[in-house]
Amino acid sequence: MAEDLLVVDDLKMYFYTRDGVVKAVDGVSYTLNSGETLGVVGESGSGKSVTALTIMRLIPEPPGKVVGGDVRFRGESLIAMNDEEIRKIRGNRIAMVFQDPMTSLNPVYRIGRQIAEPLILHKGMSKAEAHARAIELLELVGIPHPKSRVRDYPHQLSGGMRQRVMIAMALANDPDILIADEPTTALDVTIQAQILELMEELQKRMGSAIILITHDLGVVADMADNIMVMYAGRPVEYGTVDELFYEPFHPYTWGLIDSLPEYAVDEKGTLCPIKGQPPSLINVPSGCAFHPRCPFAQDICFTDVPQFLDIKGTHGAACHFAGEDGFTRGEACPVERPATAQAAEGVAS
């Protein structure tokens, strides 16, 4: 068993806004080991990005506030660190790649200087040393002619190239953890595959652990060791890739898998998405937050919050019926959910 690199323990991050308390992250726990890749999957607003930003302590306080739980990096609490201590972690031990490479580079500096910045900040390198290292890093992330490219400005590069530069910046100090927040969402599909391949290859070489945040199950299927599915700020299922794809416990995970174009066609060839919208995090539905959209919702789902339970080894889910005999992902595109059917009957009578 590898040592626990990062432990997120019942983390709760709430935002205090004029409209009410937004429970963006409400009890997330997981463990990340060295060299491991964790995929965090969920819809927009499920709290996956906020979890990552909380680990980096990048959520402004106020309005945000960690109301409970802890994040420990090599046994040390990141939440309890002061500004200076956390700055020494950021970009050094834990680095981050953002979603939109078109806006994540500073337009007024040459890319070489931007890659050099974390080296100068954390390693205390001289400008010349950092510049030389920047060229090496550009080569590492597969940018051709790094010696001349290092003098380019961001506006001279395409989106895919810029994301490579962002990855070079993030990996500059050989971090223990790389957090990639939807690193391919803003890119063309062909470039997406290249970037993911690059990240995988670099991970093998450098041994960093990766937290890969995405709303695309297909992306994590190829890359991740473990997957956490989040819904309304809470984890609803956690397991290895195989466990999650071959034996998913939670109806929401079923819905996500059913939404993949590879699986999601019925006989007529139409996609079957999860119906409805993700809930407002100010007004989270009672009981199980997923119950208004769940085709299998029972009375208990309206009243009791399901606990996250390990069902088989480390494979667990937060559903009252998870793991029960016969409660498995059946046919794609299940029939109309009972709630709607009842409502329709009510109107008819």
């Binding site: 953002f98 051709p144 001349s148 003098r151 400005y153």
Partner: protein, 329 residues
């Protein structure tokens, strides 16, 4: 000297494509797709890009050339003005009746004033005052404005409210009256005029800079810099400031004209530059009595003020277009 400026402009025009070619050579004739991926060609800096766009704006270039001529004349005035056209300050009481109100001639290209002093020499010396006031007072305003705007924009909250209410208070007072009050408190002359205009001018710059920072602060690269472990001060100075500066450059250039106008107004009212020092506003003031009999005394400084202010505004306009990246895309 103006010829040199034109040459420089032409050089920029001719060489506009060379960085791109140069870059292509540097990359060793990179495959076409990579060249295409470099959206706007060679390795030009943003500032060089801006200069290139500015040099294509004829009005702005004309304004720049005009201001360069005025500037050079003003700076070098002590070397030739007195020798060629006579002392712009000294009044020779023995000959004044013969030398006053002379019509333009070779020795006095714009004629002489009511004390027999050469109008051109006085205009050139007046330019020294006007440009000094414009540049120094604007500099004071910009420094104060940047400090307050930065504090206000970066920290927000209570600090922001206090600074912004302070600017409201400043802006609520009639500008010229407040300037006159400050000058009379400090005593008249160049120093007090500089101080008064400089102190009163910071409010708008602070507001412009604050809003500029507020929008730059939201950019992803600021978040990225924070995620990289940069400190607040470093983020402010290295990442936000250079990106928030363009509107300030534009505003400062335009307000240079406004400051020159204010100095002229104060001197015209008699609270600004004191005689016998010539300033354009002062010359207008002294010409008051001769508007009907000798309108030239009024017209020359009037033209000087109008054309200089106009030049600064046109240059500021050109800079705004040149520094606007959105126009570029």
């Amino acid at each position: 000297m103006p010829i040199d400026d034109k040459k420089a402009v032409e050089a920029v025009e001719e060489g506009k494509d060379s960085p791109r070619i140069q870059h292509h050579l540097e990359t060793g004739g990179a495959p076409l797709d990579q060249v295409a991926s470099a959206t706007s060609g060679g390795s030009r800096t943003l500032w060089r890009d801006a200069w290139y766009r500015l040099s294509r704006n004829k009005l702005a270039v004309a304004a720049l050339v005009y201001l360069a001529i005025v500037g050079i004349l003003a700076v070098t005035a002590p070397l030739w003005a007195t020798r060629l056209f006579g002392d712009p300050l000294f009044v020779d009481t023995t000959t004044v009746m013969k030398t006053r109100f002379l019509a333009p001639s070779l020795s006095h290209p714009m004629g002489t004033d009511d004390f027999g002093r050469d109008t051109f020499a006085r205009l050139v010396y007046g330019a020294r005052i006007s440009l000094t006031v414009g540049i120094v007072a604007t500099f004071i305003s910009v420094v104060l404005g940047l400090i307050f705007g930065a504090i206000s924009g970066y920290y927000g909250g209570m600090v922001d409210s206090v600074v912004m209410r302070l600017t409201d208070v400043f802006l609520a007072f009639p500008y010229i009256l407040l300037a006159i009050l400050l000058i009379s408190l400090m005593g008249m002359g160049l120093g007090p005029v500089l101080a008064a205009i400089g102190i009163l001018g910071w409010t708008t710059i602070a507001r412009v800079f604050r809003s500029s920072i507020l929008s730059v602060k939201e950019n992803d690269y600021v978040e990225a810099a924070r995620a990289m472990g940069a400190s607040d001060a470093r983020i402010m100075i290295k990442h936000i400031l250079p990106n928030a500066l363009a509107p300030i450059i534009v505003y400062a250039t335009m307000s240079l004209g406004g400051v020159i106008l204010t100095e002229a107004a104060l001197s015209f009212l008699g609270v600004g530059i004191q005689p016998p020092t010539p300033s354009w506003g002062r010359m207008l003031n002294e010409a008051q009595g001769y508007i009907v009999t000798h309108p030239a005394l009024f017209i020359w400084p009037g033209i000087a003020i109008i054309s200089t202010v106009l030049a600064f505004v046109l240059l500021g306009d050109g800079l705004r277009d040149a520094l606007d990246v959105k126009v570029n895309e």
